[in-house]
């Protein structure tokens, strides 16, 4: 039979680890979501300036934060894949791409929904929203490049290089968009989270952020299993798992 020995993270171990851990992480994420929604939508007082609509912040800010966080995870795992050629690191990047794009899309949609009542327009060339838009293009570029190259191994290495080039550019893009925004935008529009917020408004934000993080962790662990199954279908350890029904 074929020997498929990875240098470091060996798939059989990670597969078992993921299968054991992911249900619990999923449950924890669900719990945090419920608690966060309760705190954010029911307990937290209305904002003196924006009234109730600021509650959109509890989904917009975590989504925006996750969109950045997941891209950094993708870039780091891509670097590990390029330098030490660990196939598992590439699986992490591949598994994170689509969920990262979803978070960015969410940040954009909830941002524009939030902008409608506060700024009066569906799309506001606000610095943060514009950076999110560019980040969405970076994600789509990564996904498109990986699927466009027929040879999967080359596609993975090309996409990894793109992720690294992308992460180097993200701060530059963000800085230039901030600067561009301040140039054309008189700084008269105050954002909801400008003034100091009451503590009971901030707690739900962190709870929701925790929920999003756990959701991503759960998604990553399960998607890793899928990617490993697709790649290692011919190997012994998959056959063993099939025999004793532990797939």
């Amino acid at each position: 039979m074929f020997k498929w020995i990875h240098k470091f993270g060996s798939p059989p171990f990670v597969y078992g680890f993921s299968k054991a851990l992911s249900p619990w992480i999923g449950l924890a994420s669900l719990g945090l979501f419920a608690w966060g929604l309760y705190l954010g939508l029911v307990k937290a007082p209305p904002d003196y300036e924006q009234g109730e609509v600021y509650r959109i912040m509890y989904v917009h800010v975590p989504a925006a934060w996750m969109s950045m966080f997941v891209y950094v995870v993708m870039a780091i795992s891509s670097a590990v894949f390029i330098i030490w050629r660990m196939k598992l690191a590439d699986a992490v990047a591949e598994a994170s791409a689509f969920i990262g794009a979803s978070f960015t899309f969410l940040a954009l949609v909830t941002g524009s929904i939030w902008g409608r009542p506060t700024w009066g327009t569906w799309w506001e060339w606000d610095a943060r929203l514009t950076s999110e838009l560019v980040l969405l293009f970076l994600y789509l570029g990564y996904i498109a490049l990986r699927s466009a190259i027929e040879h999967p191994q080359s596609g993975a290495r090309a996409a990894a290089i793109l992720a690294i080039v992308g992460v180097v550019n993200i701060p530059i893009i963000h800085f230039s968009v901030e600067w561009w925004n301040s140039l054309h935008q008189p700084a008269s529009i105050t954002r909801a989270d400008g003034p100091t917020m009451h503590i009971s408004m901030i707690i739900p934000l962190f709870v929701m952020l925790g929920a999003f993080q756990l959701y991503y962790a759960h998604h990553l662990l399960v998607k890793l299993r899928v990617v490993m199954l697709e790649r290692d279908r011919r190997t012994k350890w998959v056959a063993e798992r099939v025999q004793n029904g532990k797939l």
Binding site: I56, I99, S102, L106, Y215, H219, A239
Partner: protein
């Protein structure tokens, strides 16, 4: 209850934002489960030792 739902007249925005977020997260999760099942069944079918490797 009704007053809470109306969200100070801004209910449409708040609930649509939460609705879209829930929709996207749930769709991602459901699609993920589908992918797991598909990968598992394909592996079961292929990895049977006595099975020749024709699809």
């Amino acid at each position: 209850m009704a007053e809470w739902l109306s969200m100070g007249g801004r209910g449409a925005f708040v609930w649509s934002a939460y609705g879209i977020t829930a929709f996207v997260l749930i769709v991602n999760w459901v699609w993920l489960k589908h992918q797991v099942r598909a990968a598992a069944t394909k592996s079961k079918r292929l990895a049977k030792p006595n099975k020749t490797y024709d699809t």
